[in-house]
Amino acid sequence: MRDTSFWVRFRRHKVACIGGCVLLCLAFIACFAHLLAPADPNFIDEAHWNGLPLAPGVAGHLLGTDENGRDLLARLIYGARISLTVALGAVIMQIGIGTFLGALSGYYRGWVDSIVMRLTDVVLSIPLLPLLLVLTALVAASSNKASLGFGTIVLIIGGLSWPPVARLVRADFLSLREKEFADAARAIGCSDLRIICIHLLPNALGPIIVQATLSVADVIITESTLSFLGFGIQPPTASWGNMLANAQANMAIAPWAAIFPGAAILLTVIAVNYLGDGLRDTFDPQR
């Protein structure tokens, strides 16, 4: 019953549905990148490439090639896989940490709350992007490798972007713990763990899902910015951000190499944001 009413309300948000469909398509493309891509993303088309990027349509490259003669469409498709996986990983981590800390601090209050909230204040006061850049530079410099692990990026982004989630969950738990059903659960002798996980958490799920969705957009932008500046996903692995890194220098002769990866980022982020907006309206009991 609840499920149907949720779907009925969600379906009213047409743009949100479109956003969701676009994301499903992207996820599909990312999953089957190896089947859908017209070429290997790192394959250099030496037969046609003459040192300059090939224009869209030339020699069977639908979107042209980049400055190294690699097929742009293939790199875009594999880039979707990287961007979405990083976003998914970082958001799961961020929601995990944020929900855990927020639930603890909202449920137990007192000194636990003070410590967790001061910690969130500290992390929120240091602007995220410069901090991420320093940390990735640090890891890169101390590991003596030119390439940064894909997991490192996920860990660093996920490990530093949880404070908004913690604040949100804390606020929810502060009001939920005073509700009658929480008192009832306490009265029949449920353990704290059981109350938090089985009684309170499901009631806080709506805002968490909305936050998670909107975070996907933030993480995609953050990861592509890091990669664009050279401290995220390292070439030759294609990511939408690092595909743009060399595009600026070649913009006069190969504008397509700069246009398509950014358009992919923009499209994905708009889709995610519309989906998140629609979900927020659906979950929000005021509407």
Binding site: V134, A137, L244, G262
Partner: protein, 318 residues
């Protein structure tokens, strides 16, 4: 005053985090010497002792903090000057860019949002809302590249002449006439303004719509006041007050945006200094920048709280 005192432990924690990161920088503070073949192992040990690097971490943190409080963030290897001096040299350019972008988004975002709220669900409203949504989702660096492509590489032609804007630097010549400076400022300032412009116009539209539906506005209109003065004197102040918090919340984003914008447009500000230092592992400068920016964010948050209390008499901090 109390808010200022409360921020001291926060700043101490931030400095501790930054110090710990700095401590783990590869090679430590003596990294430049480790590479030098003329400096022997015993020299390193002597230097380490002379600089007090062999003392427990808590003493090193204390002496580092003391130096930071005196404005000494160490020596920037990539600029061959003290970090503080390097940062302060670049501060005016960053301030110029950030303040321009700030007022640009306040002015444009404010007008767009308020006008959209005054004619809800009109064509204009839909256009503003859609563009604001796209603006909020825009990857700043790509938007910058696209503007460069449009205005710097090709130029916009129309009405018989070509509008072409410079894509890099703060001015072309040494004497820097004002018109040249403004030409160089337009693209980066607009790029930096975009995200906050979009966010603030969306917020103002929503908060203005809330206020316009309130009872006291109906009263004001019922008294026979002209709708223009109702909007200007009764609705606007109440709609703008909560914006102060939103502005404070978007400041870290503005700092990050300035970092990206300055890098792309070769704008000689602190952000570009930071991204150059990043490639050269100049960790003293990186940490100096982070500390500087964090203090800025904390101070602006306090300022926003105070401004909020001043604007809204219902809010009081004891």
């Amino acid at each position: 005053m109390r808010r200022l005192l409360q921020s001291i432990p926060l700043l101490l924690c931030i400095s501790l985090v930054i110090f710990i990161v700095l401590e783990n920088a590869p090679g430590g503070p003596l990294a430049p010497y480790l590479q030098n073949p003329h400096i022997t192992q015993s020299d390193i040990l002597r230097l380490r002792h002379n600089f007090g690097l062999d003392r427990p971490i808590i003493f090193r943190y204390a002496s580092w903090l003391l130096a930071v409080l005196h404005g000494d963030f160490g020596y920037s290897t990539s600029n061959a000057m003290p970090v503080t001096q390097a940062l302060l040299e670049r501060l005016p350019a960053t301030l110029e860019l950030m303040l321009t972008a700030f007022f640009l988004s306040l002015l444009l975002g404010g007008m767009a949002g308020i006008l959209a709220a005054l004619m809800p669900h009109s064509l204009y409203d839909h256009i503003v809302t859609t563009f604001a949504f796209i603006g909020q989702s825009m990857p700043v660096f790509w938007f910058a590249l696209m503007l460069q492509l449009l205005f710097a590489v090709h130029g916009i032609s129309g009405f018989g002449y070509i509008l072409q804007l410079p894509s890099a630097g703060i001015c072309a010549t040494d004497d820097c006439p004002l018109s040249d400076r403004i030409e160089h400022l337009i693209l980066p300032a607009f790029v930096l303004a975009l995200v906050s412009l979009a966010t603030w116009s969306r917020f103002l539209r929503a908060s203005m719509l809330d206020v316009l539906g309130a009872d006291y506005l109906r009263t004001a209109r019922a008294k026979g006041l002209r709708s223009f003065s109702v909007i200007l004197k009764h609705a606007l102040p109440n709609a703008v007050t909560p914006l102060v918090t939103i502005i404070a919340l978007s400041l870290p984003g503005l700092v990050a945006g300035a970092l990206v914008t300055e890098t792309i447009f070769a704008w000689p500000g602190m952000g570009r200094l930071f991204s150059t230092a990043l490639g050269q592992s100049d960790f003293s400068l990186l940490m100096g920048y982070l500390m500087f920016v964090s203090v800025f964010v904390v101070l602006c948050n306090i300022l926003a709280d105070v401004a909020y209390a001043l604007l809204d008499p219902r809010v009081r901090y004891d």
